[in-house]
């Protein structure tokens, strides 16, 4: 029972990442009708917002300690972060909380990147075929990842989490199971809650604001909304920016779990498309549900008991599920008639 609960928690936290990426992907597809293969790159750019923010606030002054020598006879370097020299203890706090604080940088940066991407390239491909959209956005993803590689290098760059969120929470105690029966890392629980909050926020924004109402109307019938004198194209551009911000924030908070490298986006790209297809093209609830479902299935498939019966199942479970879902429900779990259908 404890093992199942632990895998469930793990599935929820993995699913949180999948759902966030798939949500942004679906927003773009639902509003603009674009199959955006650069969406994984936006997740990666978000992660590198966290890297850039930390590099900025940990810029150091280097002094040499003449009394301590390295094994090769050079004086040892003493490095002091500028933030600490300038702001004292507050500088230390900035460094300690660099990952959550980098959200403040990631929101405007990702919104600008998203809007620039849509206005600069993607809008020219609205009337082209999906195949051409895939080609251009995939090319864009490669350009973005090579840019990041050129600036930050090819190796993963660790991002430490705040020390208060290191270690594991005693989840078993919360459930009345006794101490140390079921523990789970604090940061992963935080990630799950963060993903839930962002997903809830996006749904609330679309459900309860006039802007969201217009966007939903535009998703249902773009032409009619346009005929009413509403500039739906501008709203859809903003939605592209919002999708970029969602992907970026998912990337920022993911950095303490796996040190990001330039290839991070590609690692998630195929998986997030599978999530969207399983959920149903263009369906926001479908993307979220499929994200969590596949995260949980992937986690359970990695259990020793399952792997001993079906070796390698953890590597194919996501794709196997996609095959089964599409056989049973060709439009995906929540797919609508007419979407991506000729």
């Amino acid at each position: 029972m404890n093992a199942i609960l632990a895998q469930l928690l793990n599935g929820l936290d993995k699913g949180g990442a999948y759902a966030l990426i798939a949500l942004g992907l679906t927003l773009v597809f639902g509003t603009l009708g674009v199959v955006n293969f650069a969406h994984g790159a936006l997740f990666m750019l978000g992660a590198f917002c966290a890297v850039a923010f930390r590099q900025l606030i940990t810029l150091e002054t280097v002094t040499l300690d003449p009394e301590k020598l390295s094994p090769w006879g050079a004086p040892l370097e003493i490095r002091t972060p500028l933030a600490q020299s300038w702001f004292g203890d507050f500088g230390g706090v900035l460094i300690e909380y660099s990952v959550p604080l980098s959200i403040l940088l990631a929101i405007p940066v990702m919104a600008i990147i998203g809007i620039a991407m849509e206005r600069g390239i993607i809008k020219h491909f609205y009337k082209r075929s999906h195949a051409e959209q895939i080609l251009v956005t995939f090319g864009l993803a490669i350009v973005l990842q090579e840019l990041v590689k050129a600036i930050f290098g090819a190796n993963p760059i660790s991002q430490p989490m705040p020390s208060v969120l290191r270690g594991a929470a005693d989840v078993g105690m919360w459930l009345g199971m006794g101490p140390n029966v079921l523990t789970y890392p604090w940061w992963r629980l935080t990630y799950f809650l963060f993903a839930t909050a962002i997903i809830g926020g996006v749904f609330a924004f679309l459900r309860f604001t006039t802007f969201g109402l217009v966007v939903r109307a535009g998703m249902a019938d773009r032409e009619t909304v346009g005929l009413l004198g509403i500039n739906i194209a501008r709203r859809f551009t903003i939605m592209f920016g919002l999708a970029a911000v969602v992907a970026g924030l998912a990337g920022v908070m993911y950095t303490p779990l796996v040190p990001p490298n330039y290839h991070l986006g590609m690692d998630f790209l195929v998986l997030s498309f599978v999530v969207v297809v399983v959920g149903g093209m263009g369906s926001l609830p479908g993307a979220v549900a499929a994200g969590f479902l596949l995260g949980i299935l992937q986690s359970f498939a990695s259990m020793t008991e399952i792997k001993s019966i079906l070796p390698g199942i953890d590597q194919i479970i996501v794709y196997l599920t996609a095959v089964i879902v599409l056989l049973v429900r060709p439009r995906g779990l929540f797919g609508r008639r007419g979407v991506m259908e000729s």
Binding site: N2, A3, A6, Q7, L9, N10, G11, D13, K14, K68, S70, P71, W72, G73, A74, L76, A154, N155, P156, S158, R166, G167, A168, N180, L182, T183, Y184, P185, W187, R188, L257, V258, P259, H263, L264, D267, Q298, S299, S302, M303, T304, K307, S308, P311, D314, Q315
Partner: protein, 450 residues
């Protein structure tokens, strides 16, 4: 006196025959250098000889690859008589002069294996066919090393493997043209067993997470053999994909498995990720079966210890070499490397440097770059002064035999580079084994035209 039909004396016939035999059979053995130039792949013809360094600059083992490349460049400098000479003065018996190799200046080309076997083979093939390299070195993944070693055997180019630790490299997949200085998984198991028994006792239950390729499999096999000899029990090992990034779904089942030791058969960034994530899950603070939960990493390097940070504290592992060793050779290499790059060399850098020197020296001793002659010089070669004490390049499998270090993550590092404690040494004799246990055939040493 007997005469032939055409009137030629028998003595004349015998003399002529002997002269013919001498002319066709013995003369080529005497005129070696000039004739070999036409008989093997990439025979150097100008005043330079080119070596190919094929290392992972991207992928999960990129840190090791970058350090290997630094060491290769340093070795070339030293071979050409530049810099402080590093281990050239300590290496014995050596005929290296610091004036290139066989009078030719050493040049090199580099390639990125991407830590992928197919990319590594493509890169090595390019080096051989386009750049005309006479030797290929590099590695940092046994899958890559075995793939490149096979290619080198086909193309008749010597492969001096750098960081590869699978038993298969000099076991079932060994090749006549492949040589490994680095130690292997079997030797890790033999070396670390006594230290684990002493530190954690004989009544333990081990859970293995294993990289799903040749290195992971043989390390897992060797660690199971070693720990079960102590009396430990083993839970069915779990294989994980290379470069998985997030290992959480594999770590979660450990929590309730009943195991009290987690053995991470991971290397490079995979090990850094799996270890830090295991610590995030609270495994190091856990009590199971009335004992403190422990984590073991069979193969450890300074680069990984640096990447894992505090998570590495107290973790046992083994190393091929450590820059803090106090012998003159290790100190000379560390000084030379540190002065050039501002950081101490890793074990990956050390083995890359040593392999380059060993190859160059073998060519000097052979008096030619002709591979079959160089191979003869390396097979069964006994040397010292390269940081591992007396070492043998065993002829039967092209595996080096030397002491193996048992190390532990340092609890209180005195400086940013002081990351591992050297806690024990397994002697060369204790880690020597019968080459027949891993099977395989070296194959022929026939020279090839690439």
């Amino acid at each position: 006196m007997t005469k032939s039909l055409k009137g030629i004396k028998r003595r004349t016939l015998v003399k002529s025959g002997l002269a013919g035999i001498l002319a066709t059979g013995v003369a080529p053995l005497v005129l070696t250098r000039g004739t070999y130039a036409q008989e093997y792949c990439n025979a150097p013809t100008g005043d330079t000889v080119t070596l190919g360094f094929n290392v992972p600059l991207t992928g999960p083992y990129a840190d090791e690859g970058a350090d290997e490349q630094r060491a290769f460049e340093l070795a070339v400098e030293h071979l050409n008589g530049e810099g402080d000479g590093g281990m050239l003065p300590t290496y014995t018996p050596s005929v290296l002069t610091g004036q290139g190799v066989l009078g030719k200046k050493v040049a090199f080309v580099t390639g990125d294996t991407q830590t992928k076997a197919d990319a590594a083979r493509d890169s090595a093939r390019r080096m051989i066919e386009r750049d005309g390299v006479v030797m290929v070195s590099g590695g940092s993944s046994s899958g890559v090393a075995i793939a490149v070693q096979g290619l080198c055997q086909e193309m008749g180019v010597i492969f001096m493997a750098a960081l590869t630790h699978s038993n298969d490299t000099t076991g079932k997949d060994k090749k006549r043209y492949g040589f490994r200085h680095f130690f292997n998984a079997y030797q890790t198991g033999v070396a670390i067993g006594p230290s684990l028994g002493k530190a954690y006792g004989n009544d333990r239950v081990a859970y293995h997470l294993t990289s799903d390729y040749t290195w992971g499999w043989t390390t897992e096999e060797s660690m199971i053999a070693s720990t079960e000899k102590l009396g430990w029990k083993t839970i069915t090992p779990v294989r994980t994909p290379v470069g998985a990034g997030d290992f959480s779904q594999y770590i979660t089942p450990v929590l309730n498995s009943g195991a009290d030791v987690l053995i991470l058969n991971h290397y490079g960034f995979d090990m850094v990720n799996s270890l830090t994530q295991a610590v995030q899950f609270g495994l190091k603070d856990k009590m199971v079966n009335g004992k403190q939960f422990e984590i073991v990493v069979p193969l450890v390097s300074d680069l990984m210890a640096k990447g894992a940070g505090p998570a590495m504290k107290g973790i046992y592992g083994t190393s091929n070499w450590d820059w803090q060793l106090e012998d003159a050779a290790s100190q000379a290499f560390t000084k030379s490397f540190g002065a050039k790059y501002g950081q101490p060399p890793s074990q990956a850098a050390h083995t890359a440097y040593v392999q380059t020197l060993l190859y160059a020296d073998a060519c000097e001793r052979a008096g030619t770059f002709y591979p079959p002659e160089v191979i003869k010089q390396l097979e069964g070669f006994e040397f010292d002064g390269l940081g591992n004490g007396p070492t043998l390049y065993r002829a039967a499998d092209h595996q080096c035999f030397k002491d193996v270090l048992v190390v532990q993550g340092k609890e209180t590092p005195s400086n940013p580079f002081d990351l591992l404690d050297h806690v024990d040494t397994a002697s060369r004799e204790s880690v020597t084994y019968d080459p027949a246990i891993f099977g395989g055939e070296l194959g022929p040493d026939t020279a090839a035209m690439c």
